[in-house]
């Protein structure tokens, strides 16, 4: 009896050992490929159902603030309409100037659209959603460091790791997502944004003498090879300056909830 048990335990251990060995040397690749091909389409369906549930839940909890929010948005729409008209004139002017100078129009990005198939990581210590998994990988030309944007062109994260058919994305609220950024103020101040505790985005390394105002828009600076300039990261909600520090820092609020997105785009330079 004892011998049979020992034999069984040995067989179990051998199975696990074999699986660990096969995984470590990437010999499970063909099996994984089959799994991805079968499961990825199912996952996007599941994900959109649970996202709808989450959106409905969030809408219910946000209803209290809805009236104030509508008023605020109406003001914002008016401001944006005026700004939009001004920018259209500038865009026309810019187009003519570019034509004259023979510059390449750079705002046409190459992109790969992908579905979000899962959210969060098993070892997310903050309890907040700091990562997502998308159904595009190395096979589609995705590699670590690429920007992930929403439909409105707002950057929501950066590709962290890639497998053949899937990629892991660190969202901008993750401390693993560092972005070279610029504040759209008069001096076009540069700094680095980084998530903190999965809750907020912080911009660091801003020189003390620079003026940072609440409401300033932060965009990517283009200093990173794989991330184009001008993608909106968020707007400043708080600026902190202490005399004994070399740098000052700002707290940002993202313009959209990356957690609610079901479809995202990977920008490929």
């Amino acid at each position: 009896m004892r011998n049979t048990n020992r034999k069984k335990i040995l067989i179990y251990l051998a199975v696990i050992g074999l699986l660990v060995f096969l995984y470590a040397f990437n010999l499970l690749g063909p099996l994984n490929k089959v799994i991805y091909n079968i499961l990825n389409p199912i996952f996007s369906g599941f994900q959109s159902v649970s996202s709808n549930i989450r959106l409905t839940y969030n809408e219910q909890t946000d209803k209290i603030d809805l009236r104030e929010h509508i008023k605020e948005l109406e003001n914002q729409v008016n401001q944006l309409t005026e700004e939009n008209a001004r920018l259209k004139i500038l865009e026309n002017e810019n187009g003519i100037l570019r034509e004259h100078l023979g510059f390449l129009v750079k705002n046409e990005y190459n992109y790969v659209m992908s579905n979000v198939i899962s959210r969060g990581d098993a070892v997310e210590t903050s309890g907040m959603e700091e990562t997502i998994i998308i159904d595009k990988g190395a096979k589609d030309g995705v590699y670590p460091g690429l920007a992930i944007v929403s439909g409105q062109g707002i950057i929501i994260g950066k590709v962290a790791e890639v497998k053949e058919n899937i990629s892991q994305v660190n969202l901008t609220n993750s401390n693993k997502c560092k972005l070279a950024a610029t504040i759209l103020n008069e001096d076009k101040t540069n700094g680095i944004t980084e998530g903190e505790l999965g809750l907020i985005i912080k911009m660091e390394f801003i020189p003390q003498e620079e003026e940072v105002n609440i409401g300033d828009i932060i965009v990517t600076s283009g200093l990173e090879q794989a991330i184009p300039r001008g993608l909106v990261i968020g707007k400043v909600t708080q600026a902190e300056k202490e005399n004994n520090e070399i740098w000052q820092f700002a707290t940002l609020e993202p313009l959209i909830k990356a957690q609610d997105l079901v479809i995202v785009s990977v920008l490929i330079p």
Partner: protein, 179 residues
């Protein structure tokens, strides 16, 4: 035999799909539910160790296929947790009462989380990546909420199963007077 294997494979895939894609997208507290662990505990309690072990291996393979660790962190964590749960069940929580299921889920959830953190720390250590744990209130609150939601789930599943089957219903021996 083959029918059983195919059926179990489909069930494993279904459970993985629901856990990985559906549960992860649910709002706040619900997304902390570890559906895989809860189901494995139920299989262990109502079925047998062998079945739970092979489900753990299957689910571990799927979870690892969609993870970005350099070795089978999920497979090792799940299998170790099931082995521990089996040891606890055979030595301490031998009956099929609600309390036994709750205790098994409680200890398994803690062990699984510790296992995951230790193995992912090892993974980041060997791949020279940063691994940060903020030992603050938020971290402990999040860990406690994971245990709480798992316990709630096992509680609901237990009563649901006892409603639809006779497996978990209490048995009373009544002495009848002989006429």
């Amino acid at each position: 035999m083959y029918k059983k294997i195919i059926l179990n494979t489909f069930l494993v895939i279904g459970l993985f799909a629901v856990h990985f894609s559906f549960v992860s997208g649910l709002p706040s507290l619900l997304r902390n539910l570890n559906l895989i662990l809860v189901i494995l505990i139920l299989i262990l309690g109502l079925g047998n160790f062998k079945l739970a072990f092979f489900w753990a291996i299957g689910l571990g393979i799927f979870l690892d296929a969609y993870s970005f660790f350099s070795f089978n962190v999920f497979l090792i964590s799940l299998v170790s947790t099931i082995i521990l749960a089996n040891l606890l069940q055979t030595n301490f929580f031998t009956d099929r009462s609600l309390y036994s299921f709750l205790a098994l889920t409680f200890f398994s959830s803690i062990f699984y989380e510790v296992c995951l953190y230790v193995l992912s720390f090892l993974d980041s250590f060997f791949s020279r990546q940063e691994f940060k744990i903020f030992w603050n209130f938020g971290f402990f609150k999040n860990e406690l909420s994971k245990i709480f939601i798992n316990l709630t789930a096992i509680f609901i599943f237990y009563y649901f199963i006892s409603l639809i089957s006779k497996n978990l219903q209490p048995v009373f021996l009544v002495r009848k007077k002989l006429k």
